[in-house]
């Protein structure tokens, strides 16, 4: 080829170097947690730090790693810097990781297995089924994520009651109609906790098997903004 002397070996190594940078970005539990949070919608560093139980400095550093791997992008908004998922392929990546890890989870983490298997007896409902039953008015859809995430995007018609307020506001929910709670994803604990709480309050409650990011990725309708009242 042209003047540049580049052996195939060097090119190959450079390629894997780039691929590994993406791999490295996903090599830390907190960075995966940050990605999960960002899949709910864009957030400032401060919010992300709080949500992932990280110091400001540490959160910023982790986000830099994600940014350099091009998994996330930034945008200034006044004093704040908003981080967001850079590309739709990132959803696929995070999902691929969790899919591969599923085999591991069933054998390694007794804690984890016990936790989720207990909830699987709660017969989770899938997205298409929920869509039909919600349209028919047969179920109440409950978003138990923090309000900021609800505002950044939610299932149309869903009621927002963040998990930490659920105990106090449980009277707002009907006793007859079945309640379907959802949160961040198939491994998010918020909805599982919510179902527990609701059942103790004698509500008919189930968990949506998927979370909001998967709902959106499936091309299903999404509403934004906070709820009135």
């Amino acid at each position: 080829m042209s003047g540049v002397v580049t052996s195939p070996r060097e090119v190959k190594d450079a390629l894997y170097e780039q691929f590994a940078r993406v791999g490295k970005a996903t090599a830390h539990p907190k960075r995966l947690e940050l990605l999960d949070l960002l899949l709910q919608g864009e957030r400032s560093v401060e919010e992300l730090a709080a949500a992932a139980h990280l110091s400001m400095t540490s959160a910023s550093a982790q986000l830099q790693v994600l940014r350099q791997a091009r998994l996330v992008a930034t945008q200034r908004a006044g004093k704040r810097v908003l981080y967001r998922i850079a590309d739709d392929t990132v959803y696929t990546l995070v999902r691929a990781i969790t899919e591969v890890a599923r085999a591991r989870l069933s054998e390694v983490g007794q804690t984890v297995r016990a936790y989720f298997h207990a909830r699987d007896s709660l017969e989770p409902i899938d997205a298409e089924q929920l869509r039909r039953r919600a349209a028919a008015g047969e179920v109440v859809v409950l978003d138990v994520r923090p309000s900021a995430e609800y505002a950044a995007g939610h299932i149309p018609g869903a009621v927002s009651i963040p998990l930490d307020q659920l105990a106090d506001r449980i009277a707002d929910l009907p006793t007859g109609t079945e309640i379907v709670a959802y949160c961040r994803g198939p491994y998010c604990v918020l909805a599982a906790e919510a179902v527990d709480l609701l059942r103790h309050a004698r509500r008919r409650a189930r968990r949506l098997q998927v979370g909001f990011p998967q709902w959106r990725h499936a091309g299903l309708p999404v509403a934004t903004g906070s709820q009135i009242g």
Copy 2:
């Protein structure tokens, strides 16, 4: 729940810990190279070490990491230990990583970009198109991967001439019919090199845009064993 005291926080952290183990497994260029090699078919540690330019000890250590993350599985075969991809989801994972990295590649690696963009002027052909034209006898399909990989699985009807023998055996290939070379994947340099070589020998040659793993993953037919003669 039952007697075990496990906070949701602990469960969440344990989960991300498991996910990160998968991420960590993909956080090293050589491990990604090993995965790519294993996507061609199962191999012994010795073969893998040679193919990835690693010492035996180092290759074994890297493979342990992959095995502990359940990306690969092992099987004894006499004195040797054969490694193979553990699950179909691993193909999806590797692919997700390379897809995300593509954005990076076009801006970071001038070397890499120059290398592949030069070849993209060679109008790569896609899998379905190749299948039709090969069935019609319009093209010769050329597998330029090492013989072991060809034996472990190849496109039916493909001729095997490993790249390092191509210069010597170029006379075996027709001058009239178009030749389509393929190798390990969209970023594999073997086929690109082969097309270069063939064109200098005045053959009509193109590169298959995808590699063997993607062909197999698409459910297209696969043949195994070495070729006669």
